[in-house]
C-alpha cells in the first residue's frame, strides 16, 4: 500500500550572509515562514556553515530545513542537497564534474542539480551559465525555473525546452524551481515554489522525492497526474490499460486560479499535447485514455493570463512509460 504524499511548497535555492546573501539564517527562516513555505533548503555558495543556525531557526518556525550547498564554480553552479559533498570545487574544469560526482559513490543521501543553466555567464555572472560537459543523466535535477516570476525570463524558457528535449532522449531528470533567494526584499512579482511530494517530514524525505521526480514547480496551483497506481515521477506498469488522470486545484499557497484569466490545464507528452481543458476558479480533474504504445512520458502544464501576461503557472514532473525511459 502506497503511503499518501504530502505536497509541500518548498524553496530549494537560498543564500544567507554565510555566502553572498544579506539575511542571517534567522531572518531567512522567518521570511520563508512568512512566505508560507513548508520547507527550505539553504544552498550557500561553497560553504555549509549556515546549516546549524538555519536548522535551529527552522524548528522555531515549523519549517523543514533541507541541508544544501551550491558548488559555485567557473563552469556552472551545482546545487547539492543532503550531506556536505566531498568535492573540491576549486579543482573542477569543464570535464571534471562527472568524475567528481562519480567519486561520491552511492548518492541516495544526496540530490544534485544544475542551477539556472542558461543564465548569462562572464562578464554578467561568472559560472552561472552551465558549461559542464557531463551527461545530464549524471544529475538528479535541473533548475528549470530560476528567480522570481520565472516564466517571464527567457533563460527559463530555454531550460524548459532543454528539459523536454532530455525527456525525449530518455534522460530522467527532475525539474525544480528555485528563487536563488539572496535578499529579504519585497517580492517584485510572482513567487514560485517547488511542491515536493513527500511521505514524511524528514529532510531525507525531500531528497528521496527529488530523486524520484516527485516535484511540481508552481506559482500556486497544484497540478496532479497519475496513471493507475503510478503518480508523478513513477513509471506505470507494462500492460496497464488505465487512463491518465490529471488535474489542478488551488494549493492555498501563492497564486489562486481565481485570479487567473482563462486558466487551462494541458497534458503534454513526447507525442505532443494529449488534452487541454479550460479550468474554473477551483480547477478541475480530467482523464485521457492511453491508446498509443509510443507514449513514453506525460506531464501536466497549467497556463493562463495574469497581470496582463500569458504565463506558465505550474507544471509537474512526468509520469513515465513502462519502457523506453
Amino acid at each position: 500500500m502506497k503511503r499518501p504524499l504530502h505536497w509541500i511548497p518548498t524553496e530549494l535555492h537560498s543564500h544567507t550572509v554565510h555566502s553572498d546573501g544579506t539575511m542571517v539564517p534567522a531572518t531567512l527562516a522567518a521570511e520563508a515562514h512568512r512566505a508560507g513555505f513548508g520547507a527550505l533548503a539553504l544552498t550557500d555558495h561553497n560553504t555549509a556553515t549556515g546549516r546549524p543556525a538555519l536548522t535551529a531557526e527552522g524548528e522555531n518556525h515549523g519549517l523543514v530545513t533541507v541541508p544544501g550547498l551550491e558548488l559555485t564554480t567557473f563552469f556552472g553552479h551545482v546545487l547539492v542537497w543532503g550531506a556536505e559533498p566531498s568535492v573540491d570545487w576549486r579543482t573542477l574544469g569543464p570535464s571534471d564534474l562527472g568524475p567528481a560526482l562519480g567519486s561520491l559513490g552511492h548518492r541516495s543521501t544526496l540530490a544534485i542539480g544544475a542551477a539556472h543553466p542558461f543564465r548569462g555567464g562572464n562578464p554578467f555572472c561568472t559560472g552561472c551559465f552551465w558549461e559542464y560537459d557531463l551527461p545530464f543523466d549524471d544529475l538528479d535535477c535541473l533548475e528549470v525555473w530560476s528567480g522570481v516570476d520565472p516564466d517571464l525570463l527567457v533563460d527559463n524558457h530555454r531550460a524548459l525546452a532543454l528539459w523536454d528535449q532530455l525527456l525525449d532522449q530518455g534522460v530522467r531528470i527532475t525539474a525544480t524551481a528555485g528563487r536563488d533567494w539572496h535578499r529579504a526584499d519585497p517580492v517584485p512579482g510572482l513567487r514560485s515554489a517547488t511542491f515536493v511530494g513527500v511521505e514524511g517530514s524528514d529532510p531525507t524525505d525531500f531528497i528521496q522525492a527529488l530523486h524520484r521526480g516527485r516535484a511540481a514547480p508552481s506559482l500556486g496551483p497544484l497540478p496532479s497526474l497519475a496513471r493507475g497506481e503510478a503518480g508523478i515521477g513513477d513509471r506505470w506498469d507494462a500492460g496497464s490499460d488505465a487512463p491518465l488522470t490529471f488535474g489542478v486545484k488551488n494549493s492555498g499557497w501563492g497564486l489562486a486560479l481565481g485570479s487567473v484569466e482563462g486558466p487551462r490545464v494541458a497534458l503534454v507528452s513526447n507525442l505532443g499535447a494529449l488534452a487541454t481543458h479550460a479550468l474554473g476558479p477551483e480547477g478541475g480533474s480530467f482523464e485521457v485514455p492511453v491508446a498509443d504504445l509510443g507514449l513514453r512520458w506525460a506531464r501536466v502544464e497549467v497556463r493562463g493570463l495574469v497581470e496582463g501576461r500569458e504565463r506558465l503557472l505550474a507544471f509537474t514532473n512526468p509520469v513515465y512509460g513502462a519502457s523506453g525511459l
Partner: protein, 147 residues
C-alpha cells in the same frame, strides 16, 4: 593588533578571470585564530563605452540577444581557506574590502576552531576581472597563539 604573518599584493587582468591563485604559507605555531584582510580595486566597471563590447560578446556567447547593457559590470574575487587539517570554509561575497576571522568566532562561511601549525592555504578565486586591471592586497595577522 596581532603579529603580521603574511602579506601579498598583486595585479590581475581580464585574462586572469576564471582561475585560482593559491598562497601557501607555513605557520610555525598553533594559533587561536587569524585575521585576514583582503581588498581589491576597482570593484565596478561603469563606463558605458567599456561595458558595451563586453556585454555584446556575452549576449552572443550565451544566446541572450535581447539582454540590455547592464548599468555596471563588476570584478569578483573571493577567498577560501584550508589549514593543515583540511577545508576551513569559503567567503563567497561581493564587498571589495573584507576583514575575515578564523578562530572561535569565525566570520560567516568559515569553520570555527583554532588554526594549527603547518601549511595554511589561501585560495584567491578570480571569478571575473572586467576592468583593464585589478589590484589586490592580502594580509594575515595572528589573533594569538594557542596556549
Amino acid at each position: 593588533m596581532g603579529e603580521f604573518l603574511y602579506r601579498a599584493e598583486g595585479r590581475l587582468f581580464p585574462e586572469t578571470s576564471r582561475s585560482h591563485l593559491e598562497f601557501r604559507l607555513f605557520l610555525d605555531r598553533d594559533y587561536r585564530g587569524l585575521e585576514i584582510h583582503f581588498a581589491y580595486e576597482p570593484k565596478l566597471l561603469e563606463d558605458p563605452g567599456a561595458i558595451a563590447p563586453l556585454a555584446a560578446e556575452g549576449r552572443q556567447r550565451f544566446g541572450l540577444p535581447d539582454a540590455p547593457d547592464p548599468p555596471f559590470l563588476q570584478n569578483l574575487l573571493t577567498l577560501s581557506f584550508d589549514d593543515a587539517r583540511g577545508f576551513r570554509g569559503a567567503a563567497h561575497r561581493h564587498p571589495s574590502d573584507q576583514t575575515l576571522f578564523l578562530g572561535d568566532q569565525p566570520s560567516p562561511g568559515l569553520e570555527a576552531g583554532p588554526v594549527p601549525r603547518g601549511i595554511f592555504r589561501i585560495t584567491l578565486s578570480v571569478h571575473a576581472v572586467v576592468t583593464e586591471a585589478c589590484t589586490y592586497r592580502l594580509t594575515v595577522r595572528s589573533l594569538g597563539e594557542t596556549p
